[in-house]
Symmetry: D2
């Protein structure tokens, strides 16, 4: 498949996730070992102090980790586990989750995802995560 | 404050989180060291295989951890970090996140949250998480 | 195998780990879903403030997690990942790592381990951990 | 202080940790935001398959994380928590733990540590970790 076809296939998976549509996630980059997922920030995604809710940052990290794992292990994958550290409140126009693969074995990949917030010209790191994606194909 | 007032105050915080309203989270128990958060499952919360999206499980764990940390540290808290293991696909009527406090120091609490899915009469453990909640009051 | 034989087999594995002998770890309980590992505290296990070194607590948690995973998945297992929260400085006579199984699938188990320090009559929780043990048998 | 004095001070802390002497850890780099800790592999550090014991990898990650946190937060720090993924069995001449700082706030730093094994000319990534280091000075 061409790189465009691969991106389109991955976008179709994201579109098939009703929760991802609810959150408004968009897949910007999907290639072997690298994924970028973006979420335009709107009023539905906030917590009581008007920062983006931690759950949205977690969703972004979790989903970008799963997709980047799938970019090397194939489409039948799921996130086995991950950990996330929150570092700064997220305030701005959009979240950008950048995920990469640290290690890929036969059945599992160890991946990392940094979640940034874009606020005007600036991008700030808000959260960082590390997790295990496993293949569930036979 | 009476136990009812405390639960009502905590519910008001949850209500002030627009993302929690979007997800449909409900606070069922909030007392010192113990929190139960429930999420009725609907079509907006799913992924491509019609299981509840991992991001919803993460949201539930993250938010229940924050609230249970707040139940011992006071209302000005945030989740510093957590890790989550997904164990079973979540299929059923509602998610139930049960959080407890393992250790509470002056400024931080180590907490745990198990996320169950209720499917008919049965409750199944879908995810388990452990994290650090920190006080941000001065 | 009788319960005693099972414990003896597990002890033989621990004995075959030269690092476990260096640390002085002892297996006290090994049965399906439950493991207790103890480490008498001596001067070689400390850090600069004379507390037990975090690395010893990590070793105890990691190894107890692996053994308890092996108690349900069979002897050919390894720890895929874990996270640990340190809560109190460990000062006393011995460390006691108590591990249990939260979930066991075909190829992996999610396990938990609490590490206590015994100081006179008292036992205090010093660290808590959660991790994934995977079967590597074919 | 000159860079050499800073490295010497940090080495003195490591030397004051009896467990680090037992393991044979050596501090090779210590500067703001970057730490390299090495451990020559010997027979005392192995598990039953003659790989380096996971507990040694954890010790290396944990200690390198603490030191790198201290490189930006000052000497009075401790590791609050971390998670580690093991990726490959460690076989070779020495372990090299390379730690860096992802984010540094007033009281805590989020840090990362990759643990490599050097085997002849080759360096292989064996484990990767992410954690929180907190300042305990007043």
């Amino acid at each position: 498949m061409s790189e465009n076809h691969i991106l389109d296939s991955a976008k179709a998976v994201l579109e098939a996730q009703s929760f991802s549509r609810l959150v408004g996630a968009q897949l910007k980059v999907f290639r072997s070992g690298e994924v970028v997922l973006e979420i335009p920030i709107n009023d539905n995604l906030l917590q009581q102090h008007q920062f983006v809710h931690g759950g949205v940052l977690s969703y972004a990290a979790d989903n970008a980790l799963t997709f980047v794992g799938g970019s090397v292990l194939g489409p039948e994958v799921l996130t086995s586990e991950y950990k996330i550290n929150y570092m700064r409140p997220a305030v701005g126009e959009k979240l950008i989750a950048r995920a990469s693969v640290i290690y890929c074995g036969k059945r599992q990949a160890v991946c990392r995802c940094d979640v940034f917030v874009q606020d005007g010209e600036e991008e700030k790191l808000c959260a960082t995560s590390q997790g295990t994606i496993i293949s569930v194909s036979d």
